[in-house]
């Protein structure tokens, strides 16, 4: 089975010399939902920014059989949709509908098609009622849904969600988990939210110092790296 994403030997250094990725090998199979865990600054977000060419490091990245290079970046950006951690940075158009249609218009959809697809995407995330509202006036949960709609509208094959539950209250997290579960794409979740990851992911990889230190099932990695924020559970392990 051809993987959707295959990364080999990815290395990246920021301009100030900080080594962020030190040889990452990664594979995402069709239909899979994988959690990327690891401490802050371990390279998770830097890694996902490479998946659609926003950052370019050494090593190779293949997406749906396409080798990522300057020539294939536009096509790969249609295949890999990234939902950023801070929705405010992603929702920059004056109205929700225009924001969701932004990517569609960029990739060449006619205005009427873009409008129809944006409407459908808003319906998928349950935000049709907000189409004419300004993104700034939405709640954190609503912003996140609209940000997802903006990506889903482009029908990517892989969905990358960077800290999707950040700033969401527990009902908002639950409702987001419901939504994400029902999206058909293969997914990569960058998250510290273990409950959310457990609800969605079949597999997890653990980043440490710019490398994948381990991969396996979530319960295994949680136990191995003591990666659970619940105080009671931590105490009982201690």
């Amino acid at each position: 089975m051809m993987p959707l994403i295959e990364v080999r030997g990815l290395r990246f250094r920021y301009e100030d010399g900080t080594a962020a990725l030190n040889g990452v090998d990664f594979r995402l199979n069709p239909g899979e939902t994988v959690a990327l865990l690891g401490p802050n600054g371990s390279g998770k977000t830097t890694f996902v920014l490479h998946l659609n060419g926003l950052l370019r490091g050494e090593g190779t990245i293949d997406v749906c059989g396409l080798r990522l290079d300057k020539r294939t970046i536009p096509e790969i950006r249609r295949k890999v949709g990234i939902v950023f951690q801070d929705s405010d940075s992603q929702l920059f158009m004056p109205t929700v509908l225009e924001d969701v249609a932004f990517g569609l218009l960029n990739v060449g959809f006619e205005r009427s098609d873009a409008l129809a697809r944006a409407g459908t995407a808003l319906e998928t995330v349950g935000m049709s009622r907000a189409a004419s509202r300004a993104p700034y006036h939405l709640s954190a949960g609503e912003k996140k849904r609209v940000a997802i709609a903006g990506i889903v509208a482009m029908e990517p094959e892989i969905l990358v969600l960077d800290e999707p539950t950040a700033n969401l209250d527990p009902p908002g997290q639950r409702s987001l988990a419901d939504l994400v579960t029902h999206l058909p794409q293969a997914k990569i979740l960058v998250t510290h939210d273990i409950g959310f990851a457990l609800a969605l992911c079949q597999r997890a990889v653990f980043f440490q110092s710019g490398r994948i230190a381990a991969e396996g099932t979530l319960p295994d990695l949680i136990a191995r790296f003591d990666w659970d924020s619940t105080v009671e559970r931590s105490k009982s392990r201690g």
Binding site: L54, I82, F84, D88, F92, P94, E98, N106, S112, I151
Partner: protein
């Protein structure tokens, strides 16, 4: 007024501003006529007349400098006409802005030939001004929670240096956010050109509005100049 196409309103506004700015004679009558015309527009648009007229006065402190220069130069009449013209222009601009949502206004300005880069800057400024202002408020509250107060600000004082440092942090955050926004735009296929959804159709009623709203200031100016001569 709210439902009129932004292009019609912008065209009428431009005619109004040019007719007003180039008027030389009969300024008293012309100003009175324009004031009544704008007041009628405000009433038609169901805007709070007194509040808008008051808000337009915000331009007066800026024109005051020129008024004073004219006064000192021995031409108080010119100073006064400048102040009146700037005030009436501000009311006209407020009338258009208050009856046109910003996205529609920007699309209208784009159709009118305003460079799209400039409009992009306005759009982003409008979108993120609140976000950055909110961040500034949070920083202000955090500083106040640790005993900081604007009263302590004196040039060279520790509090002043801390405030300057906070401003630098705010700038760095705004810069970082700009980079994140750029990443989000690239991710969704942005290649340097902004495409927008279908602009509103220019109806016959919009054309009628544009003609009438443009003709009114011209007619008033002709009438005022005849009355003056």
């Amino acid at each position: 007024m709210h439902r009129r196409d932004p292009r019609a309103k912008i065209a009428a506004l431009l005619v109004f501003l040019v007719v007003l700015a180039t008027a030389r004679t009969g300024l008293l009558w012309l100003s009175a006529g324009f004031f009544l015309l704008l007041a009628a527009g405000l009433v038609w648009a169901r805007l709070p007349v007194i509040a808008v007229l008051g808000r337009a006065a915000v331009v007066l402190p800026f024109t005051l400098v020129f008024v004073l220069v004219c006064w000192i130069g021995g031409d108080p009449g010119r100073g006064l006409s400048l102040a009146v013209k700037s005030y009436l222009s501000a009311v006209a601009v407020l009338l258009v802005i208050s009856t046109t949502p910003l996205p529609a206004l920007l699309r209208g300005l784009e159709s009118a030939g305003v460079p799209s880069f400039l409009l992009l800057v306005v759009q982003f400024l409008y979108r993120y001004l609140f976000v950055i202002a909110e961040e500034a408020q949070h920083m202000g509250k955090a500083a106040a929670a640790r005993g900081a107060s604007a009263r302590q600000w004196r040039a060279g004082s520790a509090a002043f240096r801390a405030a300057a440092g906070a401003l630098a942090v705010l700038f760095a955050r705004a810069y970082s956010r700009a980079e994140q926004i750029h990443c989000a735009m690239l991710s969704r296929g942005f290649e340097g050109r902004f495409r927008t959804l279908e602009p509103a159709r220019f109806r016959r009623s919009d054309a009628v509005f544009a003609v009438l709203a443009s003709a009114a200031p011209i007619a008033l100016r002709i009438a005022a100049e005849r009355a003056a001569s």
